[in-house]
Symmetry: C2
Subunit: 424 residues, 2 copies
C-alpha cells in the first residue's frame, strides 16, 4: 500500500503506467452537424461562418506557425476524432490512458463544439445553444470513447450555469455512457449564479452519486476587457480557471458532498502551495484575519489544504520543472501530469524525451503518482487493463534517465513541504 493514497502499489512491471490528465478530442466544426438537433441548423450555419472568419484572422496573424504545425503533424492530428489513429499516437508517446476534453484544435478553433460549447461555454448567451452544442459534442465523445473505453475518460460538457435542471438531466445521461467519466462546467459563470450558490447542490449531488469528477479547463477569460492584449490574457487566464475552487470550498460544497471531486485542468499547478498556505492561515484566524474569524467559524470541518487530494485535484498538464520541484507542496496525490495531445503547446509527439528532460532526478514512487497513479484513482480507471497496455508501450525508468535506486522521497521531506502547517 502507498500510505499517501491507499492504493495498491504498482505491480510487477517496471514500465510507467502513464495516464494523461489532459488530452483533447473533437470533430471538425462542420462535422458536428449530424450530432446536432436539427432545429439549430440556422444558428449552426452562422457559427460555422464565424469559425471560418476566425481561422482567417488567425492565419493572417500567425501563418507560418500554423501551417507548419498542421502540415508536419497532418496524420497524427486525425487522432482528434479517429480512435484507431489516436491509439497509435498514444502508444508512440508511451501513454496508456487519457482524459478527453473538447477543442482539439487549440490554434484556429476549427474543432470547437457548436456555438463554442467547449472551452468557452460561459460566453454563450442563449442557454438553448449552450446545451445543444454540449449535447452534440457529448454524443460524438460517447461514440469515440466506446472504442477501448478502458483507456479513455471522456469528459462530458454540462453548462450548468445556463440551466441547473437541464444540467442534472445531462449528467444522468452521461453517467450511462461507457467511457464517460467526468463532466466539465463553464469556467466562468459571468452574470449568472456563482458556483458558491446552494442552488448548484443538485449538480454536486448527481456527480457524487455517479462518481463523476467535475472539471473546469483553462481557456475562458473576460477577453472583452483586454482589447488585443494577449499578455493580459496570459496573465489572467490561470486565475479565472482556478477561481471556482474557492467558491466551492468556502461555501462548504465539499462538506455537504464529501465524495465530490473537483479538478482544475491545464491551469498549471505552481499556485497551489501558496493558495493552501494563505487559505489555511485565513481560516486559522491568525492575527491579520482575526477580525474576520467570527464570520468564518463553523463553515469548514478541516483546513482548506486538507481538501486537496480528497476533493480538489489539479490536471497539471505539461508541468514545468519548477512545479515538479514543488511536487510535495502541491501534492503527488493532487497533481496529474498530461500531454495536452494534440495541442502544439503540449509534449506530443515528443513525450518520452520531455519526460526524460524533466523527471530524470525524480524518485520512482513520486513519478508513478504524478504520471499515472493519481489520475487512475481520480477517474476510476481499471488499472489491470491499463497495466496490460503500459507493459507494452510505457517507458521504463531507464528511458527517463532515472537512477532506479532512487525509489522514494524521505517522508520527512514530504511532511515539511507544507511548511506552514507547523506555524498554524
Amino acid at each position: 500500500m502507498d500510505e499517501r493514497t491507499g492504493a495498491a502499489m504498482t505491480p510487477t512491471s517496471e514500465r510507467y503506467m502513464i495516464v494523461s490528465s489532459d488530452c483533447h478530442a473533437g470533430l471538425r466544426c462542420d462535422e458536428y452537424r449530424p450530432y446536432l438537433d436539427a432545429r439549430y441548423t440556422e444558428q449552426f450555419d452562422a457559427f460555422l461562418a464565424e469559425r471560418e472568419a476566425a481561422r482567417g484572422e488567425a492565419l493572417r496573424m500567425n501563418y507560418d506557425y500554423i501551417m507548419n504545425w498542421e502540415t508536419d503533424h497532418a496524420e497524427g492530428l486525425q487522432g482528434a476524432h479517429d480512435p484507431a489513429r489516436r491509439d497509435k499516437e498514444l502508444d508512440a508517446d508511451g501513454v496508456a490512458g487519457e482524459v478527453l476534453f473538447p477543442d482539439s484544435d487549440a490554434i484556429t478553433g476549427m474543432e470547437s463544439p457548436p456555438f463554442g460549447a467547449g472551452l468557452s461555454a460561459g460566453a454563450i448567451a442563449d442557454p438553448n445553444l449552450a446545451f445543444a452544442g454540449a449535447r452534440a459534442h457529448n454524443r460524438f465523445l460517447a461514440e469515440l470513447c466506446s472504442e477501448h473505453p478502458e483507456r479513455r475518460a471522456g469528459i462530458a460538457l454540462v453548462p450548468i450555469c445556463h440551466d441547473i435542471e437541464r444540467g442534472v438531466a445531462e449528467i444522468e445521461w452521461a453517467a450511462r455512457q461507457p467511457g464517460i467519466r467526468g463532466i466539465m462546467i463553464p469556467t466562468m459563470w459571468r452574470d449568472r449564479l456563482p458556483y458558491n450558490d446552494v442552488a448548484y447542490d443538485a449538480i454536486w449531488a448527481a456527480c457524487q452519486v455517479h462518481g463523476l469528477p467535475v472539471h473546469v479547463h483553462s481557456g475562458e477569460a473576460p477577453r472583452d476587457e483586454y482589447g488585443d492584449n494577449i499578455g493580459i490574457y496570459l496573465a489572467e487566464v490561470v486565475w479565472w480557471t482556478t477561481r471556482p475552487i474557492a467558491h466551492l470550498l468556502f461555501s462548504g460544497a465539499f462538506e455537504r458532498f464529501p465524495g465530490l471531486r473537483f479538478v482544475v485542468t491545464e491551469a498549471a499547478a505552481y499556485w497551489a502551495p501558496d493558495m493552501m498556505w494563505k487559505w489555511d492561515v485565513y481560516f486559522g484566524g491568525g492575527h491579520t484575519t482575526k477580525k474576520m474569524a467570527a464570520m468564518m467559524a463553523g463553515k469548514l470541518s478541516k483546513l482548506p489544504s486538507e481538501y486537496f487530494g480528497t476533493n480538489v485535484f489539479i490536471g497539471a498538464s505539461t508541468m514545468s520543472k519548477e512545479e515538479i520541484r514543488r511536487r510535495h507542496a502541491i501534492g503527488c496525490d493532487v497533481a496529474m501530469w498530461g500531454t495536452d495531445y494534440p495541442h502544439p503547446e503540449g509534449t506530443w509527439p515528443n513525450t518520452i524525451s520531455r519526460l526524460r528532460q524533466d523527471f530524470a532526478d525524480v524518485p520512482l514512487a513520486d513519478a508513478r503518482l504524478l504520471l499515472g497513479e493519481t489520475c487512475a484513482r481520480v477517474y476510476g480507471f481499471d488499472t489491470d487493463a491499463l497495466r496490460t497496455i503500459a507493459d507494452r508501450i510505457g517507458p521504463t525508468p531507464a528511458d527517463l534517465g532515472q537512477d532506479p535506486s532512487l525509489v522514494t522521497t524521505d517522508p520527512a521531506v514530504i511532511a515539511q513541504a507544507r511548511w506552514w502547517r507547523a506555524t498554524l
Copy 2:
C-alpha cells in the same frame, strides 16, 4: 552608493529610518460634512444612515472584538485625524515617516470618506458622488499633512474610472498640496473602461509630470458574488488588488510613461516572484506560449520582471516571515514594509516587538531597504529630515535582535533569487 538603488547609503547613525508604506487617516464620517460640497447634503445624510446601520451589523457579528479594540486603544485611535496625537503614536512605534491612505476604521467603516470614496470607490454608481467624496477627503488630508509634511506622504483619492478629465484636474490640484505625494485610483473599474485603455494616458502623463505614484489598495472585490462567504472574499481580494498591474504593464503604459510608478498596497507580496516568473516566461515566448508569440512581439522593450523596482512597487504592509524570506525574489527595492496604523490587523502599537520577531536574522542592508529606504525613494521623502527624526525615535539593530556583523547578503544569492532568469 547602494548598487541596487543608486541611493546614498544611510549615514552615520545606526538607528533604522522606518517609513511605513501603509497607514490610514480619516475623519469620523459625519465630520467630513464641512469638507463636502453643500449640494450633496441630502445624499450625505443617507450615506451616514447607511454607515450607522453597517456599524450596528458589525457589532452584532463581532461585539467583543470591536469593543475591546476601541476601548483599549481609544487615545491612539485619535491619531486618525489629530496630527499631534498621530506623531506621538508614530514616535512610540519607531516610525519616522508614513504613507497615508483613507478609511482609518477598518472594522466598522465609521471613518470612511463620504459615499465610500476611499477603499471602495469603484463600487460607487454616480461619478458626481465619487468625486465629491474624494475631494472632501483630499481637503482634509491636505490639512492633516500640512503639519510636519516631511514625515507624511498623503495619498489623494482620484476616482479615474468615473471621469478621466476630472481625474486629471484633481491630480493637478493634489500636486500643489504640500504633503500630498501620490494618488489612489479605484481598485476595480467594474463596468467602466479597464486600465489598459489608452484613454487613461492623460492620467499617467499627469502623474509622471508631477512625480506622483499611482496606487491601488486592497479592500474592493465583487462582494455581490460572495453571499455571506468571507472566506471567498479573503481568497480573492489579493488578486483583485493586484489585477491592474498586468493591465498597465502589458498595455505598454510604462513604455509610454517610463517615469510612471505604480504601487499595490496591503495586498501582500508573496505572489510577486511567481508573477514575475510566469510573465517573463510568457513574454519570452517559450514552448507553451509559442503560438502567442507573434501577438506579443514589440509590445514591451524589456522583460516584465524588469519593471519591478522601477515602475512597479509593493506596499507590503506587515510582511509575513515567509515574504521576508522571499525578499530577494520579490526585491528589497520593490517591497516596502508598513504598520497599517491604526488598523487592528497591523503592528501598531507593538511595531518594535513585531520587527524583532521577524527581522532578527535579516542582514542590516536588506532591512534598511525594506523598512524605509525603498519607500523614501519611491515617495521622494527628504531623507535628511527623516534621518533627524529617526535618530530620535528609530530602533537600533540591537532593538531588533540583529547581529550587527550581518551587514549584507551575498550578491550571488540576490542574483539567483530570480532563478528563472537563467532559464529564459
